[in-house]
């Protein structure tokens, strides 16, 4: 699976409140509307700027906080193809793979906003085409890879009738 996209860069500790603010609690049953506020509290212009295929790059502990699955879902609805961070909070990590949004763990210091990236999820390679450098990401656990290939856990269960761990 190869993903190509332009970078939006964020810092450390981007919480689910930055991604899907609690004041829009009433929009949780209307995800396309909620997606118009994605990451608004980290960058108020982001919902207007983001384009399909773009890649979010961040620092440590991306997605910390609440269990709200609405956070990775609206990132995906906004068209983001992949999130790369130095580390992710646990619930966000599993939620993202469950809904088919790929996450990669890598040292993101050298990547800047606006860079064009080419990401190979299976080979765990991130090419920064703007800078001409290549970064290695931590391997995606095999069950998570399986979920991505199946298109998320809903499709996984529909396909196998149950969890299928290798």
């Amino acid at each position: 699976m190869i993903i190509k996209g332009k970078v939006w860069k964020f810092g450390d500790n981007i919480s689910t409140d930055h991604i899907a603010p609690g004041r829009y609690f009433h929009l949780r049953t209307n995800l396309p509307e909620l997606a118009k506020h994605v990451l608004e509290d980290a960058d108020s212009e982001f919902p207007k700027k983001v384009r399909p295929g773009d890649i979010i790059v961040a620092g440590n502990n991306f997605g910390l906080g609440s269990s709200r699955e609405h956070a990775p879902r609206i990132i995906k609805i906004a068209g983001v193809s992949c999130v790369i961070a130095k580390s992710f909070a646990r619930i966000f990590y599993r939620n993202a793979f469950n809904i088919g949004l790929p996450l990669l763990i890598a040292d993101t210091d050298k990547i800047d906003e606006g860079d064009l990236l080419e990401v190979d999820l299976e080979k765990e390679i991130i090419k920064d085409l703007t800078k001409g450098i290549e970064l290695k990401s931590t391997p995606i656990p095999s069950f998570m890879m399986q979920l991505l290939k199946d298109g998320g856990i809903i499709e996984h269960i529909k396909k196998h009738g149950d969890f299928k761990l290798d």
């Binding site: 609690g22 004041r23 619930i91 599993r94």
Partner: protein, 415 residues
């Protein structure tokens, strides 16, 4: 401890790092996460639950509903309950995590909840962890969940608390020390003489905040205090012992002596941004609103501590105080003990059980530039409904003293 419980539920011996499928004893959602779970089950053609008594829909975040979109979200859960037999915990019953420890959670259970503070139940010796709506939807239908078996970080706690210092100060101090991602993916196990002497109420405050260090769960081995609590809640027969083996391996071990800890406050906008009350007081931080309640500190013990400080005092004229008991049970008990009267006399607004203000839905949304000191667990930017406001975290005692002075205050001066 975590490995043992997950192993029992996966019907095999498991080791940290493994991904397994485990049987679930209790699964729950709340009104913020539940409607999406229902939608997922509809998409999958699996609108059913594995055990009606142990699949729970909590209406607690937006209760009573402040707007029609949220009333409609509640309706989705009401209809799902009627259709499948899932238990509906209705408006006024209380916050999911408090209701779970009162009526469901028991030692050795595996509990999954679509709310990050599900880890609270770990104080009773359950493996309890937060997941997303889809994960819990699948647990509703199949009675199982996939999970990676976490490594354990063990926290040995010793020493006597000084007056005015509580378990909230301890957990804020621990998170301030190890960081907001200090235990990401890990099971945090709390043991030692200080924990053994602690009430269940104080223990819940500690495990509630495991997620604030990134933890998958927080656990405390069940003991005589656990047994007594379960008996009080009418579940004495559910008591069992479970603890880590003498030779168990821990990825990290920490030791804390609580006699060295002062009342502690987290400053905006991360929980690990802690300061001692002595440092905080010197900064002369004006506070517009004080909030006592939530799944972290809305229990009877918390309200007793706050009432003791507020009795005979008045809330500062430039500060609002909001008090919300965590559940109907706590509400009734505090009524009987006259605590609510003390709060109202002091000038507080006492609200019905729920956690609306903590997530910025209603009952106390902040204005631009305002500051709140809350007994809740999280102070991220925008958390209480306004990204242009600041949230400080502290114990119920610190909160009560702060309400009186209208600025961050030292509770020890009121004891």
């Amino acid at each position: 401890m975590a490995e043992k419980i997950i192993g029992e539920h996966a019907s095999k011996e498991v080791k940290a790092g493994e991904t397994v499928v485990a049987r679930v004893d209790v699964a729950m959602v709340q009104d913020g996460t539940g409607p999406l779970s229902v939608q997922v089950l509809q998409e999958m053609g699996m609108e059913r639950v594995f055990d009606g008594k142990n699949t729970i829909l909590f209406l607690d975040h937006a209760t009573p509903s402040p707007r029609k979109e949220l009333s409609n979200a509640h309706k989705i859960l009401r209809e799902f309950s009627r259709k499948t037999g899932a238990y509906l915990s209705d408006v006024g019953e209380g916050i999911c995590h408090q209701r779970l420890v009162e009526s469901w959670a028991s030692p050795g259970q595996l509990i999954v909840g679509a709310d990050s503070h599900t880890c609270t139940s770990g104080a009773l010796g359950a493996f309890a962890t937060g997941m997303g709506s889809t994960d819990v939807a699948i647990a509703f239908a199949l009675g199982k969940a996939w999970m990676r078996v976490p490594e354990t970080h063990r926290f040995y706690i010793e020493g006597e608390f000084l007056e005015g210092v509580y378990s909230k100060d301890l957990i804020l101090h621990i998170i301030g020390t190890i960081g907001a991602d200090g235990a990401t993916y890990k099971s945090m196990e709390f043991i030692g003489p200080t924990i053994e002497k602690m009430s269940m109420e104080s223990r819940f405050t500690i495990t509630n905040m495991a997620i604030e260090a990134g933890g998958k769960t927080g656990m405390i081995p069940p003991d005589a205090t656990t047994k007594e609590y379960l008996e009080r809640m009418g579940r004495g027969d559910k008591y069992r012992e479970i603890k880590s083996d003498e030779d168990a391996w821990f990825e990290k071990e920490y030791e804390f002596n609580v006699s060295e800890i002062e009342p502690t406050v987290s400053f905006p906008h991360t929980v690990d941004n802690t300061r001692t009350i002595t440092e905080a007081k010197k900064m002369n931080v004006r506070i517009d609103q004080v909030y006592i309640g939530t799944c972290t500190n809305g229990r009877i013990e918390d309200l007793r501590i706050a009432a003791k400080i507020l009795e005979g005092n008045k809330v500062h004229k430039d500060t609002r105080l909001i008090v919300i008991p965590a559940s109907r049970r706590v509400y009734l008990q505090s009524l009987k003990e006259g605590l609510l009267e003390i709060f109202v006399e002091a000038g507080a607004a006492v609200e019905s059980p729920g956690c609306g203000p903590r997530v910025g839905i209603h009952k106390g949304v902040l204005a631009d530039g305002e500051r709140v000191l809350s007994t809740q667990n999280r102070n991220f930017k925008g958390r209480m409904g306004n990204p242009n406001a600041e949230i400080y975290l502290g114990s119920p005692a610190t909160a009560a003293a702060t309400a009186i002075e209208g600025k961050i205050a030292d509770p020890r001066e009121y004891l």
